[in-house]
Symmetry: D2
Amino acid sequence: MNLANGRPYLAIPGPSVMPDRVLAAMHRAAPNIYAGALPDMVQTLWPDLRALAGTAGHVALYIANGHGAWEAANANLFSRGDRALVLATGRFGHGWKESALAMGVRAECLDFGKSAPVDLAQLEAALRADPGHELKAVLVTHVDTASSVKNDIAAIRAVLDVVGHPALLAVDCIASMGCDPFEMDAWGVDVAVAASQKGLMVPPGLGILWFSDQALARSRSADLRTPYWDWTPRATATEFWQHWAGTAPTHHLFGLRESLNMIAEEGRAVVWARHAALARTVWAAFEAWGVGNPDIALNVADPAHRGHAVTAARLGAPHATRLRIWLEQKAGVTLGIGLGMALPSEPAYDGFLRVAHMGHVNAHMTLGVLAAMQAGMVALDIPHGPGALDAAARVVAGAAGA
Amino acid sequence: MNLANGRPYLAIPGPSVMPDRVLAAMHRAAPNIYAGALPDMVQTLWPDLRALAGTAGHVALYIANGHGAWEAANANLFSRGDRALVLATGRFGHGWKESALAMGVRAECLDFGKSAPVDLAQLEAALRADPGHELKAVLVTHVDTASSVKNDIAAIRAVLDVVGHPALLAVDCIASMGCDPFEMDAWGVDVAVAASQKGLMVPPGLGILWFSDQALARSRSADLRTPYWDWTPRATATEFWQHWAGTAPTHHLFGLRESLNMIAEEGRAVVWARHAALARTVWAAFEAWGVGNPDIALNVADPAHRGHAVTAARLGAPHATRLRIWLEQKAGVTLGIGLGMALPSEPAYDGFLRVAHMGHVNAHMTLGVLAAMQAGMVALDIPHGPGALDAAARVVAGAAGA
Amino acid sequence: MNLANGRPYLAIPGPSVMPDRVLAAMHRAAPNIYAGALPDMVQTLWPDLRALAGTAGHVALYIANGHGAWEAANANLFSRGDRALVLATGRFGHGWKESALAMGVRAECLDFGKSAPVDLAQLEAALRADPGHELKAVLVTHVDTASSVKNDIAAIRAVLDVVGHPALLAVDCIASMGCDPFEMDAWGVDVAVAASQKGLMVPPGLGILWFSDQALARSRSADLRTPYWDWTPRATATEFWQHWAGTAPTHHLFGLRESLNMIAEEGRAVVWARHAALARTVWAAFEAWGVGNPDIALNVADPAHRGHAVTAARLGAPHATRLRIWLEQKAGVTLGIGLGMALPSEPAYDGFLRVAHMGHVNAHMTLGVLAAMQAGMVALDIPHGPGALDAAARVVAGAAGA
Amino acid sequence: MNLANGRPYLAIPGPSVMPDRVLAAMHRAAPNIYAGALPDMVQTLWPDLRALAGTAGHVALYIANGHGAWEAANANLFSRGDRALVLATGRFGHGWKESALAMGVRAECLDFGKSAPVDLAQLEAALRADPGHELKAVLVTHVDTASSVKNDIAAIRAVLDVVGHPALLAVDCIASMGCDPFEMDAWGVDVAVAASQKGLMVPPGLGILWFSDQALARSRSADLRTPYWDWTPRATATEFWQHWAGTAPTHHLFGLRESLNMIAEEGRAVVWARHAALARTVWAAFEAWGVGNPDIALNVADPAHRGHAVTAARLGAPHATRLRIWLEQKAGVTLGIGLGMALPSEPAYDGFLRVAHMGHVNAHMTLGVLAAMQAGMVALDIPHGPGALDAAARVVAGAAGA
C-alpha cells in the first residue's frame, strides 16, 4: 500500500526544499526593471550576500546554474592556455576541471578519490613543483555534492602561504554555502562560487560569485572574459542592467531577498549549527544500521571531513536503488542518487545514495527520513543494525536541549 | 538550540495540512458568479461529494465552520421545543448538544465519558423510554475530535431499527470524513455533517451536509429553518446563487474541487487504508512508550473504537504541555492540545495531547512526528518505554509492503 | 476576432478584483488556531475594522456571505413577531426584508422604486404612524448593489431623531463599505453590515457586523439569536474560538489583514475620493453616449444619489446583453448583469447592465472598460452619442491633476 | 489625486505581464531533477517550441537572459577572429554587435538608423564585397525592442541567396517571438534567438535558441564554444542534465510549459493577429494625437516596418518623461522609456517613450493605456490632436467584429 500521499519531501542535494516564503515572494507580477521596487530592493542584497560568505569583497549574480557559475569563475580567472590546479574530492571537482579544460585552460588535477579530503602534503608538493608560478589558480570544492567530502579551506590557504605561491584560491561552495561554516576573508579565499538552489533555498537559476580585490585585479587580463561572464560590470554596475548584463532575473531576486531574510532572522551561525546537528543525526542512524552490516557505511570515515548539507552513504547494490524507489512510492521521500560513486562491480546508483539535509530542513523532516528509511529496510529485508532511530532521536535531543 | 527551521508540520486535528494543489487552486482571480467556469465546475462537485459519503442523497454546502454546520443540521431537523437525543463520547458531542439547546431544542444527553463509545444498551433503553416517539432525532459524533473515540454508526442504526424508533439519525463526521470509512446509505444515516478543514484538506470556511429523502421531507416542518440554514434551496437550486443563499464561496469551491480530485485519484478506500495504517503507526509508538510508564497511554483502550484521523493520548501533567512546546520550538511540529480531556487534578492541557494524522499526511510525516516526540521526551527527561520508533517503522513496513 | 486574451477584468459588483497582495496573503500553510501568528494577528483587525466604519463600537466577523450577514443582523435585532421597517431602493433592500420575514419578523416595506433614494417624508410618516414604538429597527441599504441608488443615512437618522422614535437604525453597507464615505458613529447608525468581497477586496466568505452599545444591549432579548449568529461572544470573546463560534476562517483572515493594510496605506478618505472620481468618469461616458439616444441612460438621475462603487445603467434591450457578451468574448471585460432592473416589456438582463468600479480599481482599468464598451457599441451597431471617451479622460485628468 | 491604486499594468517591452496561469505553474515545490514529472514534462516542450518558431530544426534552452542568448549564438557561430555582418536598426542590433566584438569576432555593422528597416541594396552590396565568403554570419534583429523597427527576414534571406553568399542568417526574435509572424524554416533562418520574458510571458531567466542542421554542422568548428554555451548537448541530450549543462531551471520550465499551453489554446496565428490588431489600435491613437502636433509621432513611418509587440513614439521633450511619470503615479500604467532614441538636443528618455502590447494583452488593457495617456496629456497640457480614443476603439471594433 502507498503511504506516500501527503506532503512529499524532496531530500536530494539540490534543488532543496523551497520555503513557502520564498515561493510566495516569487509569485508576483513582473516589476519594472528600470526604476522602483526592484532596483531599490536589489541594493539590499549585496551587503547580505557579503555577510553570508564572510567577506568585504565583491559579489556578482548570474542568471545561470552552478555549471554556469563555474564557467563564470573560469572566464574571469584565466586566459586560454593558462595553467590551473584542481583538487578533486568527488565528481564535482572533476566537473569544474572539465569546464576549465573545455575553455582552453590547462587544468591539472590532483585526485584524492571519493572518500577523502585534499592531502595537504600532495598539494604542497604540487605547488613547489611550480617554482615559476605558472599555476594561476587552485580550484577546490568546499563540499563535493556527490561524495559529501568536505575540505579544510583554511588549511589549503595555509599551504599556499607556506609555499609562497601566488595562485588565487577559488572555492566551489555550491553544496555548502548557507549550510557549513564558511569565512571567505578569514580563510583567504579569492573566489567563492555558489548557486541559488541549495542552502539558499531558491529555485535553480542564480549563480553567485564572491571575489577579492586581488581576483578582480587579475581578471583584467583574463582573455576568457565575455560580456556575459565578466564579473566587473556585474559587481560595479552604475546602471541597473549592468548587474545582469541585460534583463534582471526579476522573480528569482525577490526569492533570494526572502531567503536572505530567513537566514538573517535565524542567524548565520545558528543556521550552520542546525545543519551540523541534523548531519550528526543522520550519521548516527547510519552508524547504527551499519553495525554488523558491512554493506551499510557512510562514505566518509572521519566526521570532520563530512559536509553538513548532504550525506553520501553506501547501502550495497541493489539495496540503494530499491530503497530509494520504495521511499518515493511508499513514504513520500525522494533521496538523492549516488552520483559518480558506483563501484566497478555494480550498476550505477545501485550501491550508494545520498540523503540531503540542506537549507529549509528541521528535526521533524530529518528524523522522518531516517524512520522512513528504516521502515523501507524492514519492508525490503535489507539487513541493518538495531537502534538507529533511538540514536538519531538522542542526537536531536542532545543538540536541541530541554 | 532550535532545530525547527524547516517546513513546519501542523499536526493538530484541524485545520489539517493544506496540499499545495489545494492552495494553488485557490490562488486565482475572482470568477464571475453568474456564468462561466465557476458554475460549470460546481456541477461536478455534487456527485463527488455524494460518492465521498457513500450516498445517493442530497448535499448542501454552507459558508460556515463545523459549528455552523451543526446549526444548519439543527435548523433543518427541529422546531423549537422538539426533543432530541444526543450521544456524547467527547467534548464535541456536548458541543452539538449545546448548540441544539441554545436554539430551543430539548436536547437530552447520554454521556459515555471521554474514552468509550456509545453503549448500545443504554441507547436502546433510552429509545424504548420514548414510546410516543417524541425524540425527533439522534445526534452522535462518528469520531469525536477531542477524545478520538469512534462510534459504530451502523450498530446505532440497528438499535433504532430494532426498537422501531422513527427518529432521524444525524452524524457528526467532521473529524472522520475522508479519513475513516463512512457509508451513509448502507449504514442508514439520515444526516451527515462535515467541514472543509480536516480530511478534506481545504481551509476552514465550508460546512457540508448530506441528507436523506426522509430528512428532507421532515425538514419541511422544521420551524428553526432560516433562509441561510435551510438546506432545501441549497440542495435543489435552480439558480446558481440559491446554492449559497447569496454569493458563492468562490475560492473555497476551487479548493474543494482540487481536494476531491486528489481523493478520487488516490481512491476513497485507499485514502481510508492510508489513514488506518498511519493511525496504527502512532498507536504502536504510544503503546511502546507506555510500557512501564502508566502516565503514557492512549485515550481509547480498544483499537476498534479509535478514530483514524486523530489520536488523543495521555502523557501526564505537565509533560503534555512541555512536550508540545518543545516540539514546536525545537523540531517544527505542532501537536493538538488535549481539548476537554483534563483530569480534575491537573491544569487544562497539561496531561493530554492529540496527534493528528488527518488528510494530507504520509509515512514520512507521521514517523517524523513520532521520532521528534521521542527526541523531546529524551530532552525533557520524560520517562518512556523503549522500542517505540522501531515498532512504528515496523507498522509502516508491514502496511506498505515491499 | 477575439481580442480578450490578456489579463481579464471582472467588473461585476462583487466579487471584485482580488489584489495580488490579498491572494498572496491567503496562499499559506494552515496556521495553529489556538496560539501563535493567527490569534496575534487577529487582534490587529479589530481597531482597523472600527476605523474603516468610523465607529468606536463593536465588531463581529462571520464565516458567511452577505445574506448570512443580513441574517446575523436580524438574529441579533429581533425576536419572532417583532416589527421592522425596511426602506427598499432596489433588489437588495427587498432581499433583506425577505430574510427578516422568513425568520418570523413582521417586516414592513416602504418601496421607493429602483431609481430613487428613500423619501424622508414617507419615512417620517411611517414612524409617526407607530406611536407605540413597535418598530424595533429600520433597515436600509446604504447603496443597493442592484440599482446603485445611494441613500443619505445621516438624513434618515435625523428623521428618527426628529420623530423621537427609538427604533435602531441598521444599514446594509455591503456595496459601499470601503468605497463610499461612511461614518457610523457620526451618522448615528446602530448596526452596519458588510461582506468581504466588494470594497474589501477579499474572496467571498466573510460577513462583518459593526454595532453600537445600544444595539448590543437590545440584542440580549432577541430570541432569534443562535450560537452561530449571536454577536456577543464574537465581539467580546475571551477565548479565540469564540470569535468564530468554532474554527476560525484562517486564510480569509490573513486576506482581510492585507486588504486593511492596503486601505490604511492609501488612506480611507483617499480610497473614497478615488472611487468618487472613477464613478464620475463612468457617469461622464454614459451621459455622452446617451445624448440623442434615449435608450442609454444612467439609472439614477441625481449624481448625489448614485453609489460610487457600481453604476447601473440602461442600454436598451437587447443591447445590454449583446454588449456584455461581446466585451467578455472580444475584449476581456466582464460587466455585471442588470439584477432586478428589467422592464416588464423586456427579457431579464437585456436592457440594463452594471459597471463595477469597486475596490482594487484604477484609472487605467476604468477607462479601459469604457473604451472597450464603445468599441463594442461600434462593432454591434449600438447607437451612441459622441465624445464619451474624451469626456471620461477629462474627468480623470481633472481629478488626478498634473 | 492618485488614481493608480488598482491592478497596475506594466506596459514596458519586457518583462511583459505574466499570466496568472504562468505564475501559478511556477509556484510549486522543487521537483526531482533526475526522474519524474519534470523530465517527462520537458519532453513536451521541444515540439511546441519548434512549432512556435516554425521550424523542424533544433532547440536549446539556456538559463540566461537575452544578452546571454546573444552570447550563446555568438559562441556557436564563431571562432575568434571570424568576420560577421550585423544589420542594425536600433539599439539592440548594436548590442548584439558589441557582444560579438567583445568575444573576439570581427563584427562589422551596417547601421540603418533608428527608424528604418534594413536597406536590401546596401546588404547586397556588402555581401558582394565579400567574394571570399569571410563573413560567417549575418546578424539581424527581427524587431528591435528599442526602435520597434521590424525587418523583412525573408527578403534578407533572398538577398543572401541571390548573391550566393553562404553566411548563416541569425535573427534576434527577442521582441517578436510569439507576437509577430515568424517562419524560421520557410524564411531560411539558420539561428533564431529569443527569451522568456516578452511574447512568452515567463519571468526573465530563459534564453532560447533554434538552429538549423547547417548551423549545427558549422558550430562544430566554432572555437568560442564553452561547456555552458555549446548548443549541441543542450539540443541532443541523452541525459536530462545535459539539456541544461547542469541543474535544470525547474520553475521556469513549468512556467514555459503553461505559456506554451496558452499559445496553443489560442493558436499561434490568432496570437499574431491579436498583436497586429492591438498594434494598429495604438498606432491609430498616435496618428490622431499627432495631427497638428509635430512633436507627437510614431517612430516608424511605414506600418509594414513596425513591430507588433511594442511601439516607439516621439512625444517631444520633456513630455515623454512627464507623461510616463504621471501614468505610473496617477493611473496605474508604466510605459517603457525611449531606449537609445534621444535626440542630441534633449535629455535621455525625455522625448520618446515605448508602449508595449506584448504577450498577455487584450483590448481592455490596450484601450485603457491609450485613454489613460490622453487623460495624462490633458492633465499635463500636452497638446494633442482630437479623436484618438474614438479612432482606437474603431480599430478594435473592426478587428473584433460583431
